[in-house]
C-alpha cells in the first residue's frame, strides 16, 4: 500500500493540456478519477486506460499512466486482449454513449458477459460530442439534433438495462459533478473482480446542455436523486415529500411516504445489490424520469469468476496435467519416420 500513501492526484495528471470545451462534465470526472487513483495502492505503471473515439475517449491522454486511445467502439476488445495476457494490470476502459453503445455495443455486450476484470466507465451525455452534436442511442425520443432536425424517433437504449441484459456482475450509475458519489462509485468499481460497468451521467454544455440537470444541480438533486444503498429502503425526496419505490410481482411503482411513516411497512423495497437473480436490479433499471427518480449508486454487485482467471486456470491445468510444453515433443508427436542415407 506504499504507493497509496505516497502517490498524489498530481502524479496521475499527464503533461498534456486538457482539451474539452469549457464547462464540460468530463473535467470533473477526470479530476475525481485522478483523486481516487492514489488510494488504490496500485503502482502507477500498472494502470492502463483504454478508450475508443469521442470527447470522453480523449481521457487517457490526461492520465499519467499507460494509455491507449484506440478506434471507435472497440476499446473493450483491446482491453480484453491486454487483460488476458496481463492479469496483473489494472485496466480501465473509458467510452461514451456513442462509442460504447452505438458502434461498440457488441463488444461491450460480450466483454460484460465474459466478465473480464475491467472497469468500464461509460460517459453518457446522450449525444455525439466529438462529431459536433448528432443524437446517440441514449438520446431521448424527440431530441432535435443536426441529424434529426424533426426529432429523433428511435427508442433509446438504457445502459444499465443493457448491461443487466448482458448479465453484468457489477452495474452502477453516478453523476459527473457529484464528486463524493463519483469517487465512492469508482472505489466500488475498482474493488469488484470482473467487469465493473459504470454509467456516468455527463453534461455536454455545447450540444446537449442540462440533460441531467435534475441530478446535476445541487438544489434539485435532493428531490430527484435516489441513492442506492445496500440494505436500505428505496426512498427519495426531501422532507415533506418523501417517496419510496415498491416492487410488486416485478413491477415497480412509487409510494408516497407521509412524514414519520416507515417505508418498509409501506411496502417499499429494501435495496439488495447482491441478489443472485438480476431481475430485481433490472426492475430498478426500468425506472426513468419524470415518473420515477434517477437511481444512482450500485444496482448490482455479485461475484463470478473473471474471464481471464478462468483462462489462466485452463493454462495452469494443462501445464499441471501435461507438463510445460516441449517444442521438440510437439513437432515429433504422432506418426513420424526417419529417412537415412
Amino acid at each position: 500500500m506504499e504507493a497509496a500513501t505516497t502517490a498524489t492526484r498530481k502524479d496521475f495528471a499527464s503533461d498534456q493540456e486538457v482539451r474539452w470545451c469549457p464547462g464540460c462534465g468530463d473535467y470533473s470526472v477526470l479530476a475525481n478519477v485522478q483523486r481516487v487513483m492514489p488510494e488504490f495502492g496500485v503502482p502507477r505503471e500498472n494502470f492502463v486506460f483504454v478508450s475508443g473515439i469521442g470527447c470522453s475517449s480523449r481521457f487517457p491522454y490526461y492520465m499519467n499512466t499507460y494509455g491507449f486511445h484506440t478506434i471507435h467502439g472497440r476499446a473493450p476488445a483491446f482491453a480484453t486482449g491486454m487483460k488476458l495476457v496481463r492479469p496483473d494490470l489494472s485496466v480501465w476502459v473509458v467510452t461514451g454513449d456513442g462509442d460504447g453503445l452505438s458502434i461498440g455495443g457488441n463488444h461491450l455486450l460480450h466483454t460484460i458477459r465474459r466478465n473480464v476484470d475491467l472497469q468500464i466507465l461509460l460517459f453518457n451525455n446522450r449525444v455525439y460530442g466529438l462529431t459536433k452534436g448528432q443524437y446517440s442511442p441514449t438520446s431521448r425520443v424527440g431530441m432535435k439534433t443536426k441529424s434529426t432536425p424533426q426529432g429523433a424517433v428511435d427508442y433509446p437504449v438504457d445502459p444499465i438495462a443493457f448491461a443487466l441484459g448482458a448479465s453484468a456482475t457489477f452495474v452502477a450509475r453516478t453523476v459527473d459533478v457529484d464528486a463524493a458519489h463519483l469517487q465512492e462509485t469508482l472505489r466500488r468499481a475498482f474493488a469488484h473482480p470482473g467487469t465493473a460497468f459504470v454509467e456516468i451521467l455527463q453534461n455536454c454544455p455545447v450540444y446537449n446542455d442540462n440533460e441531467w440537470v435534475q441530478v446535476e444541480d445541487r438544489k434539485t438533486r435532493v428531490e430527484w436523486a435516489l441513492p442506492l444503498e445496500h440494505g436500505k429502503p428505496l426512498v427519495y425526496g426531501p422532507k415533506g415529500a418523501r417517496r419510496g419505490i415498491r416492487i410488486d410481482r416485478g413491477i415497480p411503482s412509487v409510494v408516497p411516504l407521509p412524514d414519520g411513516s416507515d417505508p418498509v411497512s409501506a411496502g417499499v423495497a429494501v435495496h439488495d445489490e447482491r441478489h443472485e437473480s438480476p431481475a430485481y436490479a433490472f426492475a430498478l433499471a426500468t425506472l426513468h424520469l419524470p415518473e420515477f427518480p434517477v437511481l444512482v449508486g450500485v444496482f448490482r454487485a455479485v461475484e463470478r469468476p473473471s474471464y481471464e482467471n478462468l483462462v489462466q486456470e485452463q493454462v495452469d491445468r494443462a501445464v499441471a496435467e501435461r507438463g510445460p510444453g516441449s517444442l521438440k515433443g510437439l513437432l515429433e508427436s504422432g506418426e513420424t519416420w526417419t529417412v537415412s542415407e
Binding site: 499527464s14 498534456q16 503502482p43 502507477r44 505503471e45 500498472n46 494502470f47 492502463v48 486506460f49 483504454v50 473515439i53 487517457p60 491522454y61 492520465m63 499519467n64 499512466t65 499507460y66 494509455g67 491507449f68 486511445h69 484506440t70 478506434i71 472497440r74 476488445a77 483491446f78 482491453a79 480484453t80 486482449g81 491486454m82 488476458l84 495476457v85 496481463r86 496483473d88 494490470l89 457488441n106 463488444h107 455486450l109 460480450h110 483462462v311 485452463q314 493454462v315 491445468r317 494443462a318 501445464v319 496435467e321 501435461r322 507438463g323 510445460p324 510444453g325 517444442l327 510437439l330 513437432l331 515429433e332 504422432g334 506418426e335 513420424t336 519416420w337 526417419t338 529417412v339 542415407e341
Partner: protein, 610 residues
C-alpha cells in the same frame, strides 16, 4: 493359388471419393501415413463439399481425397489421378472425368441402385460406357464389409460405417503399404466391438486383394531419394499453428491468438486451443474485429498477438490493423485465403487477397506481407513473421490459402536448436525515453510495456509527433511520419536473402510466383527445362517489401510470366514497381493450378516469341 505378379511404378496418384459420411478424409490420411512410412515422396489434396452434410448419395455431398506418391520427388497432388476409388455413383460422376484415360476405377458395385443413380443425376447406368475408357473393377464393397463383421452383431449402420477401412486395406495391398500404422491407430482410437470391427475389415480388404481374381497385379513404388532426416506428414494449417507455438517458445513470450471461426482458418484455432500447456491462450472473439483488437491489445501489453482468418474476416480487421500501423505495435495477421468475393466458394482455394493486404487500408499504410510456399513452409513463415513484427514494431500480414491449409506433404522435422531465436528487449530505462524515438537501423520504436516504472505514456490512432509520440497535426510532421512508416517497412529488404532463381540467371522467360502455387510452378518449369525450353522461375515469399535485387533479376529475362489464382495481382505490383511487361497467367476456379496448365502457359509465351 499362384503368387500374383508385381509391377514397379515411378509414381501413382489415387483419389478416394464418397459421401462426406463415408470417412473419405480419414481413409486418405491413413493411406498417406503408410505411404510416407514406405519412403515415397508424396503430396495430397483433400476436396471437401461446401455443404456440411448434403443428403447422402448426392453430388453436393461428395468428398474427395487425392494422394500422389512417387519414387522421385514430387511437389503436387498430380493433375489427374491414375486410380479412382468411388464409394457411390455420385462420387463416380463428380470425379471420373479427372481420371487419366485408361486409368483404374474401383467401384462399390452394391451402391449402383436406381435410387443412387438418380441422386447422381445418371439417367442410365454409366458403367458400360466407362468400361470403354477405363479399367473398371467392381467390388461388392457393402456386402463384403458386412460379411467381415457379421459375428460382431453391430447395428447395420455401424457395420457399414467401417467400409472405408475395407477399401483402405485393399489399396494398401494393391500398393504394398503396411497396415501397421493404421492398426496401431485403430487400437489407440477405438475400443470394444468398433475396434474389432475396424481391424477385421481392414484385414479383410487386404486379404480380398490377395485372393480375389479381380487384381492379377499389385504394384510397388520404390523409395524416393529423400534428403535424410526425421519426417512427418503435415498440413499447412497444422504447420501454421505449430509455427505460432514455436515463435512463442523461441522468443520466450506467451502468445495470444484472437480468432473468430471461419473456413478454412478455424482449424488453426482448434489446433492451438489444444496446446495451452505452452502458455498459449486462444480467444474465440465475438467477431474478427474484436479478435484483431485483442491481438493488438496483447502486443501493447508486451506479449505476442496473432489472429487467423480468411477473406471476409480479413476485411473487418483492416481498421484495427491500420491502428497498429500508426501505433507501431507488433501483431501478426494471418489470412488463409479462400475463393470470393464475398462468401464466394468458402471451401475452395484462391490467392486473391494480395492487393487487399497491400492496399486495403485507408491512406498510405505500409506493412510487411509474407506468403508460405508449401504446407511445411507455413511453420517457418510464422517464425519469420513474428520476428519481423517485434523487431520492426509493425503488424505483419501472412497470406496462406485454402490449398496450403488442407493439403499435406512429408515434412522434415526441423531440429529445435536450428530454429531462429530472438531475444526481445523491452525498453526499461526512463532516462530520455521517447515513445517514438527510433532504432537507427530498423527505425523501430521502443517496445515499452505497462508495468515498467517511469515509461508511462499514451499512444493512439491520431497522427504522432515524431520522437515524442504526442498528438500532432502539423503538416511537415505528417509528411515525415508517413515517410517513416514507409521507410521502416522498406528497410526490411536489407535483410532479405537475394532472389534465388530456379534455372538460369538470365534467359528468355522467367516465371514468377508466390504462395501455394510453388509446387505446380516448379514442376512445370523443371519439366519444360528438361525438354530444353529456356525458362526459369522465382518464387516470392516476401511480397512487401520485395527483395532488393528483384528488379535486377527481372531485368535479365526477356519475358515475365506470373501464374496466379487471381486476375493478376502480383503481376500488377511488378508492373507498377519495376515497369516490366509482366504477363498474367490467371486461373480463378477455386482450384489449384495443374502442372500442365502452367506448362501450356510457358509454351504459349515461348512459342509466341519464336
Amino acid at each position: 493359388m499362384p503368387h500374383k505378379q508385381v509391377e514397379e511404378l515411378d509414381r501413382v496418384a489415387i483419389r478416394f471419393a464418397g459421401d462426406s459420411g463415408d470417412g473419405i478424409q480419414l481413409t486418405g490420411t491413413k493411406f498417406t501415413e503408410s505411404t510416407a512410412l514406405a519412403g515415397n515422396d508424396l503430396a495430397t489434396l483433400p476436396d471437401f463439399p461446401a455443404e456440411i452434410r448434403a443428403p447422402a448419395g448426392t453430388l453436393a455431398g461428395v468428398s474427395g481425397f487425392q494422394i500422389h506418391f512417387a519414387a522421385e520427388d514430387i511437389r503436387t497432388p498430380a493433375d489427374r489421378p491414375d486410380v479412382l476409388v468411388a464409394f457411390n455413383p455420385a462420387a463416380l460422376r463428380a470425379n471420373v472425368e479427372d481420371v487419366r484415360p485408361g486409368g483404374l476405377l474401383v467401384l462399390n458395385a452394391d451402391s449402383f441402385s436406381e435410387k443412387n443413380l438418380d441422386k447422381a443425376d445418371y439417367a442410365e447406368d454409366p458403367r458400360p460406357a466407362l468400361r470403354e475408357r477405363f479399367r473398371v473393377v467392381e467390388i461388392p464393397l457393402t456386402r463384403l464389409n458386412r460379411e467381415a463383421v457379421k459375428e460382431l452383431s453391430l447395428s447395420q449402420r455401424d457395420a457399414d460405417r467401417c467400409k472405408n477401412f475395407f477399401a483402405l486395406g485393399l489399396m494398401c495391398w494393391l500398393y504394398h503399404r503396411s497396415l501397421e500404422p493404421t492398426l496401431r491407430w485403430i487400437d489407440k482410437r477405438f475400443r470394444g466391438p468398433t475396434r474389432e470391427a475396424n481391424r477385421r475389415v481392414l484385414l479383410a480388404g487386404h486379404a480380398f486383394g490377395e485372393t480375389s481374381e479381380l487384381f492379377p497385379v499389385s504394384f510397388v513404388v520404390p523409395r524416393a531419394k529423400i534428403e535424410p532426416g526425421h519426417y512427418r506428414n503435415i498440413t499447412g494449417n497444422t504447420a501454421l499453428a505449430w509455427g505460432i507455438v514455436a515463435a512463442s517458445v523461441q522468443m520466450q513470450r506467451p502468445v495470444l491468438l484472437g480468432a473468430y471461426p471461419i473456413t478454412p482458418a478455424s482449424d488453426v484455432l482448434h489446433e492451438l486451443a489444444r496446446h495451452r500447456h505452452f502458455g498459449v491462450k486462444t480467444f474465440q472473439a465475438e467477431d474478427e474485429i474484436a479478435a484483431a483488437a485483442a491481438a493488438v491489445g496483447a502486443g501493447f501489453a508486451g506479449m505476442l498477438g496473432v489472429c487467423t482468418t480468411s477473406g471476409p474476416g480479413f476485411l473487418l480487421k483492416q481498421e484495427v490493423i491500420n491502428l497498429a500501423v500508426v501505433a507501431e505495435l507488433p501483431v501478426v495477421i494471418v489470412n488463409i485465403q479462400r475463393a470470393g468475393p464475398s462468401t464466394g466458394l468458402p471451401t475452395k482455394t484462391e490467392q486473391a487477397d494480395l492487393l487487399a493486404a497491400m492496399y486495403g487500408r485507408s491512406s498510405d499504410s505500409p506493412l510487411p506481407v509474407l506468403a508460405p510456399a508449401t504446407p511445411g513452409d507455413c511453420f517457418h513463415v510464422m517464425l519469420e513473421a513474428f520476428q519481423l513484427a517485434v523487431r520492426y514494431m509493425t503488424p505483419v500480414v501472412v497470406l496462406s490459402d485454402s490449398y496450403l491449409a488442407n493439403s499435406a506433404e512429408p515434412w522434415r522435422i526441423p531440429a529445435v536448436e536450428t530454429l531462429p531465436r530472438h531475444e526481445i528487449v523491452f525498453r526499461t530505462e526512463p532516462e530520455d525515453f521517447a515513445p517514438y524515438a527510433r532504432h537507427p537501423d530498423t527505425l523501430a520504436r521502443p517496445w515499452a510495456i505497462p508495468g515498467t516504472p517511469g515509461l508511462e505514456h499514451r499512444i493512439g490512432g491520431l497522427e504522432k509527433q515524431d520522437v515524442s509520440g504526442t498528438v500532432s497535426y502539423t503538416p511537415e510532421n505528417h509528411e515525415r511520419m508517413t515517410w517513416l512508416r514507409h521507410e521502416k517497412v522498406a528497410r526490411i529488404a536489407r535483410e532479405l536473402a537475394p532472389v534465388s532463381v530456379n534455372g538460369t540467371p538470365r534467359g528468355r522467360l522467367l516465371v514468377v510466383g508466390w504462395g501455394g502455387t510453388h509446387g505446380a510452378i516448379v514442376s512445370a518449369v523443371d519439366e519444360a527445362r528438361a525438354e530444353g525450353l529456356d525458362v526459369s522461375s522465382v518464387h516470392l515469399r516476401h511480397l512487401n517489401p520485395f527483395p532488393s535485387d528483384l528488379g535486377e533479376v527481372l531485368g535479365r529475362f526477356e519475358r515475365i510470366l506470373v501464374p496466379e489464382l487471381n486476375r493478376g495481382q502480383l503481376a500488377r505490383l511488378l508492373r507498377a514497381e519495376f515497369l516490366v511487361p509482366a504477363e498474367s497467367l490467371s486461373k480463378v476456379q477455386g482450384q489449384p493450378f495443374k502442372v500442365a496448365e502452367i506448362r501450356a502457359g510457358i509454351e504459349a509465351v515461348l512459342a509466341a516469341e519464336a
